[in-house]
Symmetry: C2
Subunit: 368 residues, 2 copies
Amino acid sequence: MAKNSNFHPVILAGGRGTRFWPLSRKKRAKQLLALDGKQTMIQQTAARLLPLAPTVQFWIITNDDLRPAILKQLPRIPKPQILAEPVGRNTAPAIGLAAFILLQQNPDAVLGLFPSDHVIADEARYRATLEQGIAIAAAGPTIVVLGIRPSRAETGYGYIEAGPMNGGALRVRRFTEKPDAAKAAEFVAAGNYFWNSGMFLWSARTLADALREHLPKTAPLLEEIAGCFGTRKFGATFRRLYPKCENISVDYAVLEPRSAKGELASNIFCLPADFRWNDLGSWTALHEHHAAKANPADGNLVAASGTFLLNASRNYVHAPGKFVAAVGVSDLVVVETSDALLITTRQDAQDVGKVVKHLDAKKLHKLV
Amino acid sequence: MAKNSNFHPVILAGGRGTRFWPLSRKKRAKQLLALDGKQTMIQQTAARLLPLAPTVQFWIITNDDLRPAILKQLPRIPKPQILAEPVGRNTAPAIGLAAFILLQQNPDAVLGLFPSDHVIADEARYRATLEQGIAIAAAGPTIVVLGIRPSRAETGYGYIEAGPMNGGALRVRRFTEKPDAAKAAEFVAAGNYFWNSGMFLWSARTLADALREHLPKTAPLLEEIAGCFGTRKFGATFRRLYPKCENISVDYAVLEPRSAKGELASNIFCLPADFRWNDLGSWTALHEHHAAKANPADGNLVAASGTFLLNASRNYVHAPGKFVAAVGVSDLVVVETSDALLITTRQDAQDVGKVVKHLDAKKLHKLV
């Protein structure tokens, strides 16, 4: 596998991942945690992509809270390419800015948009899929989205409805936001629906054109910021203009707009991905991910200095350094840090973000 | 209320209280913890009795693990009167040794036997009851046991079946160990059953005579140890002979033996006690005790630096210094210390002693 001199991974690392509180914090967001293995999620994201592009071609878009930690975790990525948004503006302005900067540097640039906090198994297959997608994106004015073959009727994801094969990829018919359980089951049974992985590939030129078309107010602002990249004016211009950009996702801004006939643009393709993928959306998802690997008989996963488990099953406990005794409890999620203790259930773990909302509202800054 | 120069409180403080793990440890047993208020349980026990006797008349029977902490917590009790058993031999040898020592010093001594880890409300009523009992015990060869009027059909306590009134106290007909639920309900309905509080009053002479009669092998050993009290030989004699004493409770050795007719000795009396009493037998009992005082609407009691409770009810959480978030959980008991984390339920909290058994068996000395 050769590194591709035109491929530029753009890693999005501005999220907070509040569902992993109390481990995740404003300055130590989910992507900076080693939730799966020794490397952090963002380190794994970068390492996975490194066989496809040298580090000088990597870009990271984050914020001021997280940038210092990212600089430490990924010291080989050029510092100016680790951009801290002055304010969060969702994915369209983020990837758009990268596209306009890269277009100045390399008219043949192909961008890949990658979340920084997902788990991917089968890395060789992952990279083979990406290489295929990069080739498609480089060949024409095409947008490629990686679609994950659904393994269950998940209601927490967006779905892609794909049409017939077209040159190695499937034509995208429709994007559908999080469906209800019945719809999700229907999608999975239909066979031509895929989970939207949040991973996209396109040439800088295609993306720039799409942004000029669909975000005519925002695109010129991004071009002006991009024009200052590498100069002294960049920081001030970024801070001044970026907040004026529309707060919108690339899916919504570029992929989903329909023609007057109600049809999607014909140049959006879904590349079916057969590698195992997990977005680790909650403590429960992390529990299931680890349990699938370790497969403990009682379903308990306990990070501790020692354990005593009696009539305890399917619990996830994170209390490293402590002896944990669990007696007569099941389906609990308990996470302990030096200043906080979370006690919830596998079912309620998706509501952990509400704790952070409360802490934000109460201005308990040290705890968020 | 005047101090009584013949009344000698003997506080038993050799228990481990393993059901309060991880807070209770071998060197920091339940009675040394401030489970209810600012003072520790043993400090409260002593303070409650102080209006009845000066500190020079107090005795404490404990062990080598706990004695250093007790010396610190109760600095005004004469050090030689804080006895560390070389091995635990249950209550009969412990109170017996005190009786034989006191008999040498004061032939009119009245001993009171007091557990060191119970909660008592209505202290004035408690002391008035004791004064009545002390008078009865001083007047004749009588054994007085304080009986608690049962407020529920508790199966975890011993019961006293009382007969007709006899000079201010009830004649004891029978001691019954922990009954099953049906029997317990029957006892409560009957009206003449009381919980055995573990608090006894008797003269040193009566107790000495009873021990000589019922424990003819052990009594001479205790007399020999007592004979050395205040001399250089005491420590060595105590360590040599005490392990040879029978391992038996005072209830079983002295109170329950029956005559050939199957009747209890006629000199055992039950003094009905109307003060509120709680032996705090588990985290759940402590939870209920605190909830009865604080009466929180959702039943949660959380010791923490801050809390966020969402769909959470009837939980007991002890994590001082931490922010505790509980989401979607009920009837849990969670206790955190610097080295351990207990997660159990209100129902299973009585099994916490099993954790300590496991730690003992695994020789995890730092954790017990």
